[in-house]
């Protein structure tokens, strides 16, 4: 579990996060949503330790990141997996080398053992016969799968995803969402997803954190979101006619 306590983050005079208190639960898909400029990416980067909070604390299973010494922070980082928006795969490496990278860096496994694990995770994300290809030779959806495979290859306790289905067609986007949810359940990990995609919100949102202007505006599940009386959230989630109709149908119990 990740606990966020009174998190503030400023860049100069500009305060992006204005005191966020929330929790992200183990074994659940936790979503951060909000309009562009709401502070989602800054929040995610604070969770990842890429940005140092101006004030407040982030605790991973009860341990505050900032209170850990360098070695412990490094140890904690190795327990994190991250799926970046663009995949962030290393262009000069093959798919197998990309997925193997965390194992090469942090384990003393032999190459055969690492290759077995690579095969295992690539099979888990439904990718076969791509080991020797380079990232530029596969599609965007496949790149996202490789990024997920790389993120989980070292069996992380925390999985972070930054808009994992942006730029994908609706069918592939749902496949990626479902894959992340399945992996979360199978491995009992704490997954935090930063997303704009309302399909994802209504499909896999078990714990949703809605940010507005750097504040925590609303916190709940996908079932609660249908009945929300928070106008800002309703305007954001049900901005399209399709989603308005979905909501009406849900409320009528159809």
């Amino acid at each position: 579990m990740i606990e966020v306590k009174n998190l503030h983050k400023s860049f100069g005079e500009d305060e992006i996060l204005k005191g966020i208190d929330t929790e992200f639960y183990q074994g659940k898909t936790n979503l951060i949503i909000g309009q562009s400029g709401a502070g989602k990416t800054v929040f995610l980067k604070c969770l990842l330790g890429l940005f140092k909070p101006t004030e407040g604390a982030i605790e991973y299973n009860g341990k505050a990141y900032s209170s850990l010494d360098n070695e412990k922070q490094l140890e904690l980082r190795t327990e994190m997996g991250m799926v970046f928006q663009g995949g962030a795969l290393f262009d000069s490496m093959t798919i197998a080398e990309n997925v193997m990278f965390p194992l090469r860096m942090f384990t003393k496994q032999k190459k055969a053992e690492m290759m077995d694990r690579v095969e295992e995770v690539l099979t888990r994300v439904d990718l076969q016969n791509v080991n020797h290809k380079f990232p530029s030779e596969i599609s965007g959806g496949m790149q996202k799968r490789v990024a997920i495979a790389r993120a989980i290859v070292n069996k992380p306790k925390y999985l972070f995803c930054d808009e994992p289905n942006s730029g994908l067609d609706p069918k592939t986007a749902i496949l990626i969402d479902n894959l992340i949810q399945e992996i979360t359940k199978e491995n009992d990990i704490t997954t935090v997803i930063n997303t704009h995609d309302m399909n994802s919100v209504l499909e896999i949102g078990e714990n949703i954190v809605y940010l507005k202007d750097g504040n925590l505006e609303w916190n709940g599940s996908k079932d609660e979101i249908y009945r929300t009386d928070n106008k800002s959230l309703a305007d954001f989630v049900y901005s399209s006619n399709l989603f308005k109709k979905v909501r009406e149908a849900q409320l009528k119990g159809l």
């Binding site: 990842l48 330790g49 890429l50 360098n70 490094l74 140890e75 904690l76 980082r77 190795t78 994190m80 991250m82 970046f84 928006q85 663009g86 962030a88 795969l89 290393f90 262009d91 990278f101 965390p102 090469r104 860096m105 942090f106 972070f160």
Partner: protein
Amino acid sequence: MKYLHDIGEYFIMLKKVFGRMTKTSVMRGLIFKEIDDLIISSLGIVVFISFFIGGVVTIQTALNLNNPLIPKSLIAFTARQSIILEFSPTFISIIMAGKVGSNITSSIGTMRVMEQIDALEVMGINSANYLIFPKIIAMLFYPFVIAISMFMGIVGAYLAGVLGGFVAGEQFLNGLQNDFISFHLVYAFIKTFFFALILATIPAYHGYYMKGGALEVGKASTTAFVWTSVVLIIANYLLTQLLLS
């Protein structure tokens, strides 16, 4: 103020480069790859330029020595001094600032834009060490490039002088050995060592801290070339003052 900030940030980056080290087996592979990318792949252009500039220096010197009292061997002496003291260490380094420097800035800058540096950091890897340290170690082989440049410059000078009929072969070889001061070679290689560090780290700084997208990668490469050249010229003056005066 911005310059002071940039200088401070550059030294912070250097501290980070020599901070937590990447696993030795991985680093070994990275160093070999950088030696290939930065050193071996530069040899062709260095040999080509050095050979022809050596020839040009010889022809220009010969055409300016009209006085029959001045021995022709002075042509070789002048070519040797120009190539060893200035052309190979300094001007090849400025050319390398364009070739190697832009390679370093654009490769690191593209990794920044594509979030690959963030990916390394999230994995718990010291990205500055992983990306920049192998380039610095590879550039320690740079004096070999300059040695080859000196050799090819002198070969070019010899061929242009002798085949062009400006000086006899024996006279050229005599001139080449006249008043040879071995410290001049030491001076040239000391300069080269400092230039290698400048060539590896200033472009790396511009790539590592770049912000923006693909367009900014191009701008960062240009800025890196300008600043690397400026620092090379200033370092050249200071080292010459310190070592030769």
